[in-house]
Symmetry: D2
Subunit: 113 residues, 4 copies
C-alpha cells in the first residue's frame, strides 16, 4: 500500500464527504476544529503511557487499531482542508522542508565516514 499520491487521496475523501452530503459542514474553520478533536482522541491514547509504553503502543492489537483509526482521521481532515482551501499539500510540504533546511542545517552528512 502507500502507493497512492496525495491528490488521489484528496479526491477520494472529497467523494466520501460528498456522498454523505457533508460538504456543507466542511468549511475551513469547522475542519480545523475537527482536526483538533481527532488529535485530541489520538492524544488520549498516549497520555498516560510512559515514553517506552508509547514506543510499544502498537503491540496491543486493540490499542493499535484505535491509534491507526485516529491517525487516519487526522489525515482525512488534513486532506479535506487542503481540498476546501485548494492547497497543494505535497508542494506545501516540500516548500516547508526547504525553509526548514535553511533554518536548521543538516548536522549529519549521509555517507560521511
Amino acid at each position: 500500500m502507500d502507493a497512492t499520491d496525495l491528490s488521489t487521496l484528496r479526491s477520494r475523501v472529497k467523494a466520501f464527504a460528498a456522498e454523505r452530503n457533508w460538504e456543507r459542514f466542511h468549511d475551513p474553520k469547522n475542519l480545523v476544529m475537527a482536526l483538533t478533536s481527532e488529535v485530541g482522541e489520538l492524544t488520549e491514547l498516549f497520555q498516560w503511557l510512559t515514553p517506552q509504553e508509547g514506543v510499544e503502543a502498537m503491540r496491543d492489537p486493540k490499542r493499535g487499531e484505535a491509534i491507526r483509526d485516529e491517525m487516519a482521521d487526522v489525515l482525512y481532515y488534513v486532506l479535506r482542508l487542503s481540498d476546501v482551501l485548494d492547497v497543494d499539500l505535497e508542494r506545501a510540504l516540500s516548500e516547508k522542508l526547504e525553509k526548514n533546511k535553511a533554518r536548521y542545517p543538516a548536522v549529519i552528512t549521509r555517507g560521511s565516514v
Copy 2:
C-alpha cells in the same frame, strides 16, 4: 505536484529528521504533542475569522503562506508518527473509510437522476 505516494513522503521526512539528529526526540508521545502544537498554530490563523473569512483565507498572500506552512507541519508530524509506529497510513485511511461507510451510508448516489 501531489504525485508522490505517502511512503515516499514518509521516507523523505524521516531522512530530514535523521540528518538533523532529531530522531532521538521523535518518540510517539513527543510526536503527538508536536502534532497538537502545529494544529494549535493552524487554529490560531482561523480563530477570529468569520466562516466566510475562513473560506477566503488563502486570498491574503501572507496568511495563505502561513496556512500552507502549518498544514505542511501537521502532515510532517503525521508522517513522522506513522514512521515511528510503523503504521501504513494509506491502508489506515482506506480501512477507516470502509468502517465509516458502514456507519454512515451514502445518501447521494453518484450518477443518480
Copy 3:
C-alpha cells in the same frame, strides 16, 4: 456558587487524584496531553455548529451538560498542572493581564460618555 478561590479548588482536585492513586500519572507532560484531549472533546461539541448555534448551545439540555462536563475537565487539568508545577494560577492570570494591558491598550473607557 463560584465562591471558592483557585487554591482551594486546586487542593480539592489534588485530593481527588490522590485518593485514586493517580498522582503517579500526573507529571506535567501527561497533564498537558490530558488538557489537549479534553479541549478536543469540548471542540467536538461545537465543530459542526454554526456560530449562532454555538451561541445557543446550552439550550439543548443534553449538549449543555456535555459542554459543562468538558469545561470542568479542562479546568480540572489546568488546576492539576498548576499543582504539580507549583504555579500560582491567579497570580499568573493577573500578571498576564498586566502584560496584555501594555500590548493592547483599552479602546473603551468605562464610564465615558
Copy 4:
C-alpha cells in the same frame, strides 16, 4: 494570592475583553478555538522534554515564565467561555467530580491505617 473566586475572575476577564472591544469576537466557537491554540502553545513548551525535564521545567526562569503565561491564557479562555455560555464553572467542576467519584471509587481512604 489565589484568594479570588472564579466568578470574580470571570468578571475581571470579561471587563478586560470589553475594554478592548473584543466581545464581538468572543462567540463560543471562536473561544474554543482560542483555547486550542493556547493549549498548543503550552504543549510546545513541553513536547521535546523528557518526563523528568518536564517535572523540572519551572527551574529555567525564561521557560517558567512562558509556561505561567500559557497557563494563564488557557484559564483566561476557559473563563471567557464560561461567561459567554453562562456556565457556573465551580458548580460544573463540583458536579463532574461527583460523577467521577461514582465511576472511579477512591482506592485510598485518607486517614486509614
